[in-house]
Amino acid sequence: MEEGRQKDLQLLEEIIDKGLKQKLVHATASRDKIFEEQKVLSDLRKNLETLEKNAVNSLKTMVNLGSEVYMQAEVPDTRHIFMDVGLGFYVEFTRHEALDYIAQREERTKKQLEEYTGVITQIKGRIKLAHYQIQQLLNLPEENPSSSRQRAL
């Protein structure tokens, strides 16, 4: 009995440290990435909307050459924009097409975010459960039902 309890404890600790915690770190990192993407998209959308609203068809801007050195650049025609669609491909859109595309992307990132949030909550729940079981094992070692329940999990 005693031996089995030790084994259970070890197993639970392993599950927490090696499995769940690493998964949690991974999922959180992925979610942060998506948050970032969401912000970029919404910024871009706002900027394009401003251009549209003010009927700006050409603009001057500064380009960062690297290490915080900027140079002036002019854009003769802002009605066409190239957007990164992933995997290194850029697609030429008109402003309206771009805004549509951004809306779709935003929809998708929102779904992804929800998904990841779900995964993260699940992992956290499992960790809590494992902790609870460890406590049970330590506090009520003589109770057979609890220990068998642990094994089942």
């Binding site: 970029v40 998209l41 910024d43 871009l44 900027n47 801007t61 500064m62 380009v63 960062n64 050459l65 690297g66 290490s67 915080e68 050195v69 900027y70 140079m71 002036q72 650049a73 002019e74 854009v75 003769p76 025609d77 802002t78 066409h80 924009i81 190239f82 957007m83 990164d84 850029y90 771009a98």
Partner: protein
């Protein structure tokens, strides 16, 4: 020939547990890792800077360049760079200024210089840590092997080291008799005083040369005494002929009265044990620098500046500069002797709280020989008293002669 009861045998492990040494070693390794990351980051900046210099140089060749102008992180507009000879440059602290291409290149080159010096000092720091790490590792393994430290009190008719030293002493002792106040100073007393005089001399010169710097960097005069004392001990221990001869030369200019030396000892005595914590960093520096700081006081400041907290270091120009010279020197002198050196350093550091003061302050125990039984370091076993014992059989003669003529 010595009654065995006179010495003491202390296992190294009891002074410095193996586990602790290992812990310290891994801690230092961690630090090295951090510094490496920092250095890679800086190196990246440098590369970026280099690319940018080339780019800014080339841009004014044409009136405009067709580029994709970034618009946010995911979108671009087709457009072109105009005013290719004008750049807006960040100076830092949110200050920007308009510069021509040429001026920008100059600015970037200055920035490159700053980065390089930062990398330089970082490299020196890493090497510092590496020496420290290898020292800890050696100490750990020595403690594990059951290394013991044997210490004996000095008695006149002592063995190997003392006899050689005495013969060299006799030449000088009659000359020195007049100058020494007590007249009948023992030989060891004489050597002790000489070393004290050297210290004072070093102090004077250091204070003279970098008084200003030190005013800010050193907290108290006592600390200065300690620092120079360490340097001196290092200097004395220096193993090259050059170091020693230079030493002799300096002694010829000694004019500090004996009383001063007494006085200084009384200041220092109560604090003898305390500075050892600080001494840690110093000891870890290989003895590469003493040679330098003896014949070149400027360089002396370099290694000393390294003892300062790291934060200060990166901002003091001399520290960086000298860290460099020290490092270069170490590169040439250090590698071949590295193994022997760490062995010397190992036991010496541990003993220092008790042993170092002895040759300097306690006349009855002036020549405590410390013999470490260890297969491959036997020849350096009397390390901590090099100025007075075996490892220096012939040099003292020339040294003491030099100072009289």
């Amino acid at each position: 020939m010595e009654p065995p009861a006179k010495g003491t045998v202390t296992p190294l492990a009891s002074l410095f547990s193996e586990e602790e040494a290992r812990k310290a070693a891994s801690y230092v390794e961690e630090k090295i890792g951090e510094k490496r990351v920092e250095m890679n980051r800086l190196q990246q900046f440098v590369d970026e800077n280099d690319n940018l210099i080339n780019l800014v140089k080339k841009l004014p060749d044409q009136l405009h360049h067709n580029v994709m102008v970034p618009f946010g992180k995911m979108a671009f507009f087709p457009g072109r760079l105009i005013h290719t000879n004008e750049c807006l440059v960040l100076l830092g602290e949110n200050y920007y200024t308009d510069r021509s291409s040429k001026q920008t290149v100059d600015f970037l080159k200055r920035r490159d210089k700053t980065l390089q010096s930062q990398i330089h000092s970082l490299k020196a720091e890493i090497e510092d840590f590496q020496t420290e790490a290898s020292f800890f590792a050696t100490t750990a393994s020595e403690a594990a092997e059951g290394l013991v430290e044997i210490r004996e009190e000095y008695v006149e008719e002592e063995d190997l080291s003392a006899t050689v030293f005495q013969s060299s002493e006799k030449e000088t002792s009659n000359i020195s008799g007049g100058e020494a106040e007590e007249g009948e100073l023992e030989d060891d007393d004489f050597a002790r005083i000489m070393s004290r005089l050297n210290e004072l001399e070093m102090e004077e010169e250091q204070e003279g040369e970098d008084g200003g710097d030190r005013g800010e960097e050193r907290d108290s005069p006592i600390e200065i005494l300690e620092e120079s004392q360490h340097d001196l001990v290092k200097g004395i221990r220096g193993e090259t002929d050059r170091g020693r001869i230079e030493y002799g030369k300096q002694e010829t200019t000694i004019s500090v009265p004996m009383k001063a030396s007494r006085h200084s000892s009384s200041i220092r005595e109560p604090r003898v044990a305390e500075p050892r914590v600080k001494a840690k960093v110093i000891q870890v520096l290989p003895e590469a620098h003493p040679h330098k700081d003896i014949d070149d006081q400027l360089n002396c400041i370099g290694p000393m500046a390294q003892y300062l907290p790291k934060g200060d270091q990166s901002h003091s120009g001399t520290a960086q500069q000298n860290a460099g010279t020290w490092r270069d020197f170490q590169a040439t002198a250090g590698i071949s002797t590295a193994k022997a050196k760490t062995n010397v350093l190992g036991p010496q550091k541990i003993e220092s709280p008790i042993e170092k003061p002895e040759p300097e302050f306690d006349s009855t125990k002036a020549f405590t020989g410390s013999i470490v039984e260890h297969a491959h370091i036997q020849e350096t076993s009397t390390h901590s008293d090099t100025q007075s014992s075996a490892s220096q059989p012939s040099k003292p003669v020339s040294r003491f002669k030099a100072q009289r003529r």
